[in-house]
């Protein structure tokens, strides 16, 4: 369906709407169909319905660190260990993940590098997590160095994590300027550990999300994997859950167990579709996975959601994309799917 057609339909329905679609390199870059279905307006991307809803997101404190190493293997190993046990602050000490692979041109030392983002709800916890995670998982890792990866002008806070870690050198360490940055250099068994003295932090955004609904579990899973892979290219955003995908999207509180703060979101559980009355799953949906996104700011999270949706709708079997929210009552940010796809 051409952009012209979309425009015509939209005009028929509501009047003009000049933000709804566009063309780039011969590809429509968001909706490819907008139509009336049983009196309701439906929008589609690659034949997949995009629900008119929003992800509800929250402020969180974030730090961004660049880990470099002698090769990509060790930069990635360090990034994975450092951001491990970091899916949700409900019971993890932080939410953390790999932001993206750095190009060699971007790294101060010209070596392979990986950007990571670590998030907690307060700055005190963030400082503790930076010290513990970098001290235990990067400093200890072969050939690594660690650099601040937030711009000075966007940082609200700076933690002297690199300065504190220098004391591990027991007097053999030095403080220097290297690659135009103030660093501490500590001799270790494996050679030397270089870390920038100050690591910046700021308020970011947690809880951006997508729900991917597909005919079967494996179609939904493949689509979620693809969404995570696409988000991996977006600067400033992470998917903190295991492999980037959430299998157990939840609702706040519990109907049955007063002591539980969060329990299953039964309306989106395929195996309960026919056992409850209020299921939100279409008849042909038997697989649902969620992708949760944190980022440096609203723009990064929006861009990540957009990249994730565009990747997911390419996968055969995907039926619908929606998002999770609390009716707009809890979160500061409302990331509407139609807006992020613009």
């Amino acid at each position: 369906m051409s952009y012209g057609t979309i425009g015509i339909i939209w005009n028929l329905v509501l009047g003009t709407c000049d933000f709804l679609g566009g063309e780039k390199n011969g590809k429509l870059y968001y909706f490819d169909a907008i139509f009336l279905f049983q009196g309701e307006i439906k929008m589609e991307l690659e034949g997949v319905e995009i629900e008119d809803t929003f992800a509800e997101a929250f402020p969180i404190k974030v730090a961004r660190v660049l880990i470099t190493a002698v090769n990509d293997k060790w930069a990635l190993e360090a990034a994975k260990e450092t951001t491990g046990f970091g899916t949700s602050v409900i019971m993890c000490p932080a939410e953390a993940g790999i932001d993206k692979i750095a190009s060699r041109e971007e790294t101060p030392d010209g070596r392979p590098g990986v950007y990571i983002i670590i998030c907690t709800f307060g700055y005190k916890a963030l400082e503790e997590q930076l010290l513990a995670r970098i001290g235990q998982c990067v400093l200890t890792c072969p050939t690594t160095a660690a650099f601040n990866a937030l711009k000075k002008e966007e940082s609200e806070k700076e933690f002297n994590t690199g300065f504190k870690l220098k004391f591990f050198g027991d007097g053999f360490e030095s403080e220097e300027e290297l690659y135009g940055r103030a660093v501490s250099r500590t001799p270790i068994m494996g050679g030397e550990f270089v870390i920038e003295k100050n690591i910046g932090a700021k308020e970011g955004v947690a809880g951006g999300n997508l729900f991917i609904l597909a005919k079967d579990q494996m179609s939904a899973l493949t689509a979620a994997e693809d969404a995570v892979f696409a988000i991996g290219q977006v600067e400033g955003a992470i998917t903190p859950f295991t492999g980037g995908v959430v299998a157990s999207g939840s609702k706040p509180g519990s109907q049955k167990y007063k002591f539980m703060h969060a329990t299953i979101n039964e309306k989106f559980c395929p195996t309960l579709k026919d056992k409850i009355e209020a299921s939100e799953l279409p008849a042909d949906v038997n697989g649902v996975f969620e992708v949760v996104i944190n980022g440096l700011n609203e723009e990064a999270v929006s861009e990540a959601m957009s990249a994730g949706i565009k990747a997911a709708v390419k996968v055969p079997g995907v039926v619908k994309i929606t998002a999770g929210n609390f009716g707009g009552k809890l979160g500061k940010y409302q990331l509407r799917l139609y807006d992020v796809l613009r």
Copy 2:
């Protein structure tokens, strides 16, 4: 080197000694050379000197969990996230790692699986870590299930982690017997989460280790990687540090900073070799990495050390294998290199 050993070696030099070596499939399976060098006895494996010293190890509480999933990718993703931020209890909430890949025949549900081991110094912390790590990193992960992987008869404790996690099901969950095990089954977005109700725990061993000394940093690193890969085949043992390798082996306390509990082991730092008097590094050694091993028991840790040494000595450029200890004053276990190689 103890007097007893010297006696034995003299016997070897002068006559037969049937425990010091052996042959299997045409390969010597431990020492391939024992000789007098400047009045001192040296032992070699593949031309690499094995120092007559021991790793000093400690009791720790351990749990072993089997994670299964629809494929090896997701079993491994879950295992990595669950054991992340778990290198050393100095500042991580646990020491954790992948034990080994399970064969399909071994898994209760016949799917791909990965064994992990989680360690803390007390049982209370271990129970908390099991609940948090499985609840946040396995339950949330696509297609996974979790099973107790300690035998009943070797368990000292059982934690009802699986029972506790069932409440996430908000009444839609069930308790059943499945594959001959008592499990809870919780419907989730991604399908269903199955977990064994009780997870066993016992006293294990932490701090087994090897030091790999090589002519250059990259030779030592390649050898350490190979050692970690070989240890990955040994049942009941993990290498909890990032990628299994430690770049920053430490000594207790500090000479200069009273507030530090651990600082660099300068005697093994290549860049300090010519700057301090007591360096333990031979003139031709410029690269040193350590592999730290935790396990279910002394035998598993010993076997892992042996597998690691045998792999490391195969790498060109490796000069010497030694181990770290505190003179035998601190640890309950002394794992002598000559003994583990038998």
Copy 3:
């Protein structure tokens, strides 16, 4: 389905049948349901229908080589390059693939290793392919060595590939016995290349196969990936196609183009299901992938088919397993699904 089997099944329906199923570790290890459906007998494994048909397979000449290297990365790189462009002898010079990862105990030099299998329809072509593939992809690869991996007693032929490759040494090479094998050792830039002088060959089996039918393309694909992964553990069998999976199962000849020797198997194409009359796809099947298996002998191929089926049926969305044949007219071997699952 043969009369014998029918009789047995009737027995099962009416009474006991102790060979059709079994239990091991609390798991049924083949059929978990056999019942009458609209007058027809159906067999199921994990709720997936297993069709009573057979894979038709052919004799082919095979060689098996063990490649070792300083680490698993390089052993695998060598194995992949050496077996690349090797899916089908229709237009590839060989059918080739990775058999399985060797344990260190199995490799003559105690290093990480990978077994590969190379197949052609004649011995002359096999000798040429061994020389070209090992000479160009293993000899040239960092740190590798190559050993014969067929037992003497099962070999019908021996090719002096290792002897021929020694001339690359320009007189600096040597012929020796190493690890109890006659090898040539050639000094190269990267160190030294060791290769066993003679590589054995024998008649093997090509064309074992499975068809995996699922509700959707991604479910079928995930199941095929899992089948390939499971077959990767079976000794003596390879899945020569790209990533082990065939997306384009074919029929011999063509209805429309006389010059074509093989064209699409339209009866199994989901997008043609409603356009042709003779589709073999059930109404709920929208995804089909094939796994093709070659092996050292009928037993290895059968075992691989069994392992593949058992893995595939575990994947949600899989509906039916069948296999490809030519009515038994062309191939020497008929590998019946019911038999291989026993």
Copy 4:
């Protein structure tokens, strides 16, 4: 050493030379030291000597194809199989490799993609290889599509590979315009295979190369791996050998065996250093690996050599970078190390 200092030294030696160095983001981007050593001028990058020599390269015919798939896994699997058994045309039917990972924005169908390059010495062989490799390794591979990845204006030839492959559809195929390209679409078991009808070809460059000399084998190998990884980011260039690295750099002909066209380059074999008179290896060099580069044109190969050198010199233990040539007698292109580093 600052650029100023380099200039001064260079001025002292020869006069001005304004092309020799530069600064970007605070980093010198090529030589960081140029000095007189025993009457000879030496240039260094990160402390590693860069020899003043050149790689001698040759014309070759090349095609560039973009393979897309449902996810990065399958795009890569297809690319690997298609370019396998493709290290050197001495005995492989083509030289082939992965050029680089495509961004989703670049791929016509918006899916993950991988660019590959296939090279042969003549266009006839190239057409055959395109048909065989794409037909057997891409068409057969789950979820893939294949597109021409040479610009019309740079192509000298076009092969109708996509048109020929359509006959596999046995009449069920169609020819269409899709994403602004003329393609054929063939229904297959796995769904549908889309391929652009015409694939462009041109004259490219083969035999760009680097020799990496290091203190030890593992340092040289790690550096070669890093060089290959860095070249992986350069558009239009491949490293066709196994894992991108050559362990067995050769000389033309043989001193001893008249029938051999190429034998070891003994002057660069570490184990022969003390056994021959004309070794080119410095006393402290014990590890040498080569990286061979083919590309679409001289610029791409030069850029790849530069990226490879800059990555290699970062690895501890690397002593010297040089290149292989035949005294300039054989090849059309002379890629001087000093020039490519500009």
